[in-house]
Point group: C2
Chain length 234, copies 2
Amino acid sequence: MTDGGVEDLRKELLFSALRGSAEDSSLAVAIFRELAISIVEGRLQPGHEVNSAELARRFSTSRTPVREALLLLERESLVIVPPRRRPYVSQVDMRQVREIYEIRGSLYGLVSDLVVARASDEGIDGLRAWQKLLTDDAERGDVHAYFWHNVGFRNAEASLSGNSELQRRLSSLGLQMHRFRHLSLSLPGRLLHSLADHERLVSAYADRDAALAAAVSKSLVLRGLRAIERSGQV
Amino acid sequence: MTDGGVEDLRKELLFSALRGSAEDSSLAVAIFRELAISIVEGRLQPGHEVNSAELARRFSTSRTPVREALLLLERESLVIVPPRRRPYVSQVDMRQVREIYEIRGSLYGLVSDLVVARASDEGIDGLRAWQKLLTDDAERGDVHAYFWHNVGFRNAEASLSGNSELQRRLSSLGLQMHRFRHLSLSLPGRLLHSLADHERLVSAYADRDAALAAAVSKSLVLRGLRAIERSGQV
DNA sequence: CTTTTCCGAAGTGTCGACACCTTGCGAAAA
DNA sequence: TTTTCGCAAGGTGTCGACACTTCGGAAAAG
C-alpha cells in the first residue's frame, strides 16, 4: 500500500490548511471541515446551494452551528453567503484564478527570499527529500502522489521561511486552488516541466542564490497558472 | 474645515476595508463594523475581553448576531475566539508585525509591477494627485491628514493594479496595522523620508520602470516597519 | 500561612421558535 | 397563448432558553 502514505499526507495537509488541526469538538468547526473537504475535492460543485436549513437536517443539528460553519467557509472563499439569500459554493472564474496566482507567485517569491536568508542546511536537505519523492512519482507517472508531495514541498518551504503568517495565508490560497491545480498536472509534459523547476529551485537554495530562487519560484507558480489556462477547465 | 475632507476619507477607507461597504442591514455586520473601528482606532485595547453576553447587552440584541460579528472580526485577525473561552481583542506582538510587514512589502512590490504594466497614464496622474496632497500635508506638518492621504495613495495604487483580490487582501492587512502605523509617522524625520519615497515611486511609475518601482515600494513598506520597531510601541 | 478542594456566578455552544423576506408557481388578466 | 399578480412554501435573521464549562474566590486541608 504505497498509496496509504500519500492518503495520510493528503489528510494531514488538508487539515493543517483548515485552521491548525485543533481538536475543537465544536459542531461548527466539524461541519466546516466536512464541507470544506467536499468542496475542494469537487464533490460539492461550484454554484451548488448550501442552505443552512437543509444542512442542519443533514447533520442533525440546529441551524446555529451550520450558520457559523458557513461563515468560516466564506472566510476561506469557498462559499458565498449573500445577505437574506441562500448561500452557495463559490463560483471561481478565470479572472479570479489569475489574480490569486499572481498573489501566490509574489508570496512564493518572498518565501524563497526568506528561505535563502534563514533556513538551515538541514532544512534545505529536507526540501531535497521532498524533491526526491517528486522524482520517484514522476518516474512512475503517479500524478496523484506527485500532486500531494508537491503540496508538501510547498508547505515545507513556507514553513522554512520562518514567517507563520505567510505560511497560513499561502495554505489558505492553496486550498482555494486545489480544485483546479489537480487537473492541470495531468496535462502532457506538465509534470516533467514542474519537476525540472523543482530541481532548479533546490539547487538555487543549496547555492543560497536568493535572486535565482525567487525567480524560479515565481515562474513555477506562473507555469501552474498557464497550465490551468490551457486546460480550459475554468 | 479642511479636516472635514480628511475625516470623510478616513471613514470611506475604513468602511471600504470592512467588506465592500455593502448596506447589509444585518445586525451582525453592524456590530462587526462598530467593533472593528473601535479596535483599529485603539478605543478597544489589545487583550480586552469582548464576551458575547456583555456585547449583547450593550447592543440590545441577542447573542446570536454578536457571535457572528465576533467570527467576522476573527477573520480580520482583530479578535481571537478561543473555543469555550472568552474572546478578546487580539494581542499583536512584534514578531507578528514583522511577519505581516514582510507580506505587505512583497505584495506592494507586486502592485508596483502590475501598475507599471497595466495602469493608464491617467491612472498614474491620479497617483500624482495623491502625492500632491501628501506634500501639502507634510509642509503643514499635519500628521493625521498625511496618514490618511497615504492610505488613500496605497489604496489607489492597489486599485490600479487591476487585481481586486490583491486589493482586498492588502486592505485587510492594512486594517490590522492601522493600530501601529499611526504612531510611527509621528517620529521625527519619518514624514519627510516617507514623502521622498513617494516622490521616487511616482517618478518610477511615470518612467514605467518596473524594477525601480517595485524596489522603492518594498523599501517604503520596510521603512514603515523600521519606524514601528524604533517607536517601541509593540 | 500555603495549598487544595469545592462551589456559585458568569459565559459558551446549541437548540427550537417566530417573524419577515425571497422565490417559484399557478390563477387571473390581457 | 402570453403576461402579470398574488400567494404559499421554504429559507434567513434573530431571539430567549438551557445544559455544560470555565473561572475565581471561599472554605477545608495541610
